[in-house]
Symmetry: C2
Subunit: 275 residues, 2 copies
Amino acid sequence: MICQDMMVEGVHFDLDYFSAFDLGYKSLAVNLSDIAAMGALPHFAQVSLALPKKLNESWLDDFYKGMTSLADDFHMQVAGGDLATSPDRLVVDVSVHGSCENPLTRKGAKPGDLLLCSGPLGLSFTGMTALQKKLAGFDTAKERHLRPKPRLDLVSHLQKHHTRIHALMDCSDGLVNDALLLRPAGGGFHLFAENLPLHTESQSLAVDLHINPQDIVLWGGEDYELLMAIHPEDYEYFPGWKMIGQFTEDPRVFVTHADHHEEIKEFKGWKHFSN
Amino acid sequence: MICQDMMVEGVHFDLDYFSAFDLGYKSLAVNLSDIAAMGALPHFAQVSLALPKKLNESWLDDFYKGMTSLADDFHMQVAGGDLATSPDRLVVDVSVHGSCENPLTRKGAKPGDLLLCSGPLGLSFTGMTALQKKLAGFDTAKERHLRPKPRLDLVSHLQKHHTRIHALMDCSDGLVNDALLLRPAGGGFHLFAENLPLHTESQSLAVDLHINPQDIVLWGGEDYELLMAIHPEDYEYFPGWKMIGQFTEDPRVFVTHADHHEEIKEFKGWKHFSN
């Protein structure tokens, strides 16, 4: 299998706070996350860059250092690609080749299935906001935004229990938007408000900025944690995963609190509240 | 093997005269030319686009039609890739996966080897100039610039005679610049002025613009014909190829006329006389 992801300066990253090393790291990480989301392992990567004149050779060296520092963790090679001139914006296109015995896909969730998540959500958005607003602290969140960790550490466990996994994906566009892609045909889902994986730094940001912390978890993107649909009886096989929702036959989408359901009717892009 | 080539609007192409179809065609063609230049055949392609808002869905459809029309000629698939948003410029990154039994490389030319070429050179530059200056006619040249033909038709013959081929590459940056890459270590080459593969349309352009037609052949790029180094005794095995030069121990580069040698001392980029 091949995963390919293109990142454009000003759309996907901002060189004001992305070092060359971080960008090299992240441009590989987002592709490795796609590989992990199929229950696979990576073999090698290719990279093409449209490089503006403002970035010199030492910038390029650091970019490759960032890529290879992550590639080395998984004993994979950065094999080559192309280097083009750009009159203005940097564009990075990375592809990763991987393989696995039992590929896992986004299709297959059934009504009644639980929605599990492998880690906190909204943390990358928290970090990006802190970086944009030059807020001190928020170190974990900033690190998550600049150098997300692809969850390849979970792959061997996923492969061991692949028959129990109905659907799997990585959470890159925000929890609600991604769960929409994972839901059964014609169905919807409930998200359990009390279980939403909110990090303390996201909570702090919400307080500082007077926004709803729940929104950060629901709509913040780029965390690259995994989302999974399984039969409720199989939950015991996935310790460490958070049970954050349940798929339904009903096509509507709710956030379920202890005492009420809150229907989500407007589906927003992951950047909807970043301005 | 994998070939990857990134094309940036305003650097590698101009949407004023590139239709969506032509650009889809060409972005695959330049990669197929790299595959042919190794004596290989293609299996499938991946494409990433950074797409500005000015280009709509119908533009994208036509782009893929252009790609697949060429892909179909070689029974290969366009497998997927990524679609990103660009705030302004279009960026196209295509990779092609291919294979062969006996890969041919750029290294291996020896002093005394002949330099052969598979077709006319400078024609793409002629077409680009005619398009930029909105000149009528020059139809073959315009076609060559917009839809270059990768020389995959030569691959089976190249494979048959692979032991006779000392070095091979595709001519994309202009004859002189590419022959520099092909020359033996420490060596140079002579180009035979009378044999240079000048097309009548390039001749016409030179007359119209009061420029030296030889310059168009020497420096015009993007023809995607093949250049090859072979032992002089093996010339008979490559009918249809033009014998345009010879590699030397002497590191200098000459254009050899019937009555004199003209040394090339200044090595120019392929766009040196396009402004």
